[in-house]
């Protein structure tokens, strides 16, 4: 059966859906049916800079970047800084982290292998930095073959060990934003997908082989063609009965006959998925990016855009999707478009606002592990230390790889990017890390000989007020308010010892809500 997810007809559409839209047009669409006065005003420069920096390069601005931006009188300085951030290599690295996590969170850890995603991360960073289009990146990932070490794009297929069921489900979830795996055993309970839809998709991977290889970090994994075989859907009534061979077919009805080699199948799948008239591909990407930037997706969770799922601002989603297709899936352009809107630049809405209102502006998000680590580096000068590798011995054959400081933060603040913001875990380990971690606490040392960033700030700023101001810049990327300055100065007076008081201040600032939040 052919199942189509209808793209909801938009009440307002940019004049020509094949033409890219402007940020102003996008704002107009968002405002449709709302009063501008219902919405929050646009944020001041310092808040915008922190927000845009966290979203584009995964860290807050440095004090010198802050000053440069604040001092600029250029009327288009926000657009200019967006362009500047998109040109930094940290842009690719940051979004590579996001996609690495999106993929790796659902890869079951294999026996005796500590999968390393560093190569995939590096490869993705290059693709994003060179602004390779999303359809090309997707085709590269889905059709990759050979050794992960030599072709990191093969990580997705390889680390799933060529498992057709898993690859079918994950391809649908990550690249099409739909959940088909429920249909593995029965027709989807809440959607119109049938069991066959899932198995026909999995059949594209029927001959995909992924062998982990001997290297314990997984980078020796090889993706190749199994050479024979078809995908059989098990008999739901009788597991011992012979299954049914499935034609590799996408839910749009297009596919391949049986008997084709692995590469022909995966190339066909990759092409079908990335065709401009594929109803999910562009929509899924746009939904994820919107969710990450604005705090809430058109659909939540972002990988579950089922036909009967709630959607907010459908006409905006439609227009953005059309725009993304019209630009040839231009990754950087989409960021530029969204970040330039007033919607992105609005102040946070009151908690408890209506869904549409929330979706029409930016809502707060907690920082993910990598971003938090990089924020700690800016705030305290935290070094990234990797302990020496423990060599395998005859007695202890499988020592886990050592954890760098970044790994420790990423582990404590690990969050599956596909889950909605409110389902991201908030744990005591996270609080304990920021409160007590010894590596971090070593940076909270004001004594002149310690060589810490804090000690340098204190020697460069003998005035307490300016030292406090500098600390706020470094930790929260903004100047303190009058009231905050008063609180800080009163604290310094009360404690008496300057060093002790500033250690308290730095500790307290990294343990505020604001530090761990994109707002």
């Amino acid at each position: 059966m052919l199942v189509m997810v209808s793209l909801t007809a938009a009440p307002i559409q940019a004049a020509d859906p094949s033409r890219p839209i402007t940020s102003a047009e996008l704002d107009e669409l968002i405002l449709d049916g709302m009063q501008e006065s219902d919405l929050q005003p646009v944020v001041a420069d310092e808040q915008f800079l922190r927000r845009a920096s966290l979203d584009l390069i995964g860290r807050p601005p440095l004090p010198e970047e802050f000053h440069r931006f604040m001092e600029s009188q250029a009327p288009d300085k926000r657009d200019a800084v967006i362009d500047h951030l998109l040109d930094r290599s940290e842009f690719g690295a940051h979004w590579a982290n996001y996609w690495r996590d999106t993929i790796s969170f659902r890869v079951p850890p294999p026996e005796l292998t500590f999968l390393d995603y560093g190569l995939l991360q590096g490869w993705l960073a290059e693709q994003f930095n060179s602004n390779r289009s999303w359809d090309e990146v997707t085709r590269a990932i889905l059709t990759a073959t050979g050794k992960v070490k030599e072709n990191p794009a093969a990580t997705f297929v390889g680390y799933h060990q060529g498992n057709s069921v898993k690859l079918g489900a994950e391809t649908a979830r990550i690249f099409l934003g739909i959940q088909l795996q429920c249909a593995e055993c029965h027709d989807h309970p809440y959607e119109s997908y049938e069991r066959e839809d899932f198995h026909r998709l999995a059949a594209f991977f029927a001959r995909t082989k992924g062998e982990l290889g001997k290297v314990q970090d997984g980078t020796g994994t090889v993706v190749s063609d199994r050479g024979k075989g078809e995908y059989a859907m098990a008999n739901a009534m009788d597991a011992s009965a012979k299954g049914t061979s499935m034609l590799p077919t996408l839910m749009t009805g297009e596919g391949l006959p049986l008997g084709k080699p692995d590469m022909a199948r995966r190339q066909r799948l990759a092409n079908l998925i990335t065709l401009p008239d594929n109803p999910w591909f562009a929509k899924a990407y746009v939904n994820r990016i919107w969710a990450k930037l604005m705090g809430r997706g058109f659909y939540e969770p972002v990988d579950d855009m089922g036909e009967f799922k709630d959607q907010v601002l459908p006409h905006v989603h439609t227009a953005l999707t059309a725009h993304f297709i019209a630009t040839g899936y231009d990754v950087k352009d989409l960021f530029r478009l969204i970040l330039s809107t007033s919607a992105y630049q609005r102040r946070l809405p009151s908690s408890g606002s209506e869904d549409d209102m929330l979706a029409a502006g930016t809502t707060a998000r907690r920082l993910r592990g990598d971003v938090l680590f990089d924020s700690l580096v800016v705030a305290t000068g935290l070094p990234d230390i990797t302990p020496p590798k423990v060599a395998a011995t005859k007695a202890f054959r499988f020592p886990p790889p050592p954890k760098s400081t970044r790994d420790l933060v990423v582990d404590a603040f690990a969050a599956d990017p596909s889950l909605p913001e409110e389902e991201q875990p908030r744990t005591m380990s996270q609080a304990m890390f920021l409160m007590n971690n010894s590596q971090l606490q070593e940076q909270i040392n004001a004594s002149p000989g310690s060589g810490t960033q804090l000690s340098k700030v204190l020697s460069e700023h003998p005035e307490n007020k300016t030292a406090v101001e500098h600390l706020f810049l470094q930790v929260l990327a903004r100047r303190p308010t009058e009231k905050e300055l008063e609180i800080a100065v009163a604290h310094i007076d009360r404690v008496g010892n300057r060093g002790d008081a500033f250690e308290d201040l730095l500790w307290s600032l990294i343990n505020t809500v604001e530090f761990t939040t994109k707002r």
Partner: protein, 446 residues
């Protein structure tokens, strides 16, 4: 991933604190709806207590899982087959139970069989480590699509209380091979185990690096700044952070953290458990039970290599020390719990992921075998001094009363007062029952 408490519908939800004290307010709140519906609004506090005494007792129970990582041999432990060609050099010794014999490496456990109900007829379909561990630690067959949680996390979720200053699920010792570990899975970090890699020392980041006065001064200052940050837009964020930090502060400054420090335990008691990682881990488990921790897992690997109980090679050499270490600690734990009146509220389970093959290699190694493996139950209403099920004279097959892994989980739930039909919600809105299938092992309680 579960996130909302309202998805969690327990059979009863009485506010029992970790130290076993029932919070009256929690209980009354819970009872209000039910009591009104039953027209029993006139029942007094005492009546209500009486009415639910059984459930309350069940809710206060703890579980200690002694995990024999790698799969212990039944021939070299609690089901020797003297006279069979498959029995190695291990001789049999008599036990407290007439007619029941253990391998010679277990003299102390043999004399404690009156406190143990031994199951000799475990069966499963999984005889590869990662798959068997997934099954035996979660109660669900291995799955590539759902990461089922280990049972300790299921218990932690059931017993979650934001006001407690100790974790409800503690794991002591490290699994011998990290990639086979089974964690909180779809239940997420909130219900993950609190890991003590070496008994006697706390994990990093728990102990503050500054004195209590300084820490509180800093927390106050952070809270003042949070107050400044708070607005209509951020009040939920600030509240959430305050709750989390209040719990964390209570934990890291808790005088009860001393429970993890074994130094204040009398030398004689420490020696009773044996001066080994596993022995001291069992001692720590007892201390945690005393403090009301709900689920404790102590991992036995022998520590000399990462083979643990996985004695494919050199079984004749490696089994005696592995057994001796456990034979010291396991009965010591049972006696100590009993002496302190804790055994009646603590379920102690000894098991691994499977057993070993009848066929012996020349050096005494045995491969994996999932028929006729062993589990042992004590405490929490279990009638000790009995053997359930049997294998044939060579130990090739189960001859009597096969017990499956799901039966174990139904039984754990029964003892701990968890409703097996209770469901948690995994990603994709898919409800998962605590246990699927299985029947209670009634003999344990008869």
């Amino acid at each position: 991933m579960e996130s909302r408490n309202d998805m969690h519908v327990p059979m009863i939800d009485v506010g029992m604190t970790r130290s076993g004290v029932v919070s009256r307010r929690g209980m009354l709140k819970q009872l209000a709806a039910g009591a009104a519906a039953a027209g029993a609004a006139t029942l007094g506090w005492r009546d209500l207590m009486m009415a639910r005494a059984d459930e309350l007792r069940a809710r206060g129970k703890s579980m200690i899982l002694l995990w024999m990582d790698g799969g212990p041999s039944q021939y070299e432990s609690f089901n020797p087959k003297i006279g069979s060609k498959y029995q190695g050099p291990a001789k049999a010794i008599s036990t407290k139970l007439p007619g029941i014999e253990f391998a010679e490496y277990w003299p102390r456990t043999a004399q404690s069989l009156d406190k143990i109900a031994l199951i000799r007829s475990m069966t499963s379909n999984e005889s590869v480590h990662d798959r068997a561990i997934a099954l035996v630690r979660t109660g669900y067959p291995p799955s590539v699509s759902i990461r089922y949680p280990t049972f300790g996390s299921v218990v932690a979720r059931d017993r979650f209380d934001p006001h407690l200053d100790l974790p409800s699920f503690v794991r002591i010792g490290k699994p011998r091979i990290a990639t086979r570990d089974v964690d909180a899975g779809v239940l997420g970090a909130k219900y993950a185990s609190f890991n003590i890699n070496h008994p006697g020392s706390l994990p990093s980041n728990v102990r503050p690096t500054v004195d209590e006065k300084t820490l509180r001064r800093r927390l106050n200052l952070a809270s003042t700044f949070d107050g400044e940050f708070q607005s209509a837009a951020t009040k939920d964020l600030v509240q959430e952070k305050r709750d989390l930090y209040a719990r964390t502060e209570q934990f890291v400054l808790s005088p009860r953290l001393g429970v993890f420090d074994l130094e204040d335990e009398p030398q004689q008691i420490r020696d009773e458990y044996g001066q080994t990682e596993f022995g001291q881990g069992c001692l720590l488990a007892r201390r945690l039970v005393e403090q009301g921790v709900s689920f404790i897992e102590v991992i036995s690997t022998g520590g000399r290599n990462d083979a643990g109980w996985d004695t494919h090679n050199n079984g004749f050499r490696d089994n005696p020390p592995l057994c001796r270490e456990t034979d010291q600690a396991y009965p010591a734990l049972l006696h100590d719990l009993e002496r302190r009146g804790l055994l009646e509220d603590t379920l102690v389970v000894w098991m691994g992921e499977f057993g070993r093959t009848p066929k012996i290699k020349p050096d005494g190694g045995r491969d994996h075998y999932a028929k006729g493996w062993l589990t042992a139950f004590s405490g929490a209403g279990v009638r000790g001094g009995q053997v359930i099920g049997a294998t044939d004279k060579d130990g090739l097959d189960v001859r009597d009363r096969p017990v499956e892994v799901q039966d174990l989980f139904v039984t754990f739930c029964h003892v701990l007062g968890l409703d097996t039909h209770d469901e948690y919600i995994a990603a994709n809105e898919r409800p998962i029952k605590l246990v699927e299938g299985g029947t209670l092992i009634r003999e344990l309680f008869s």
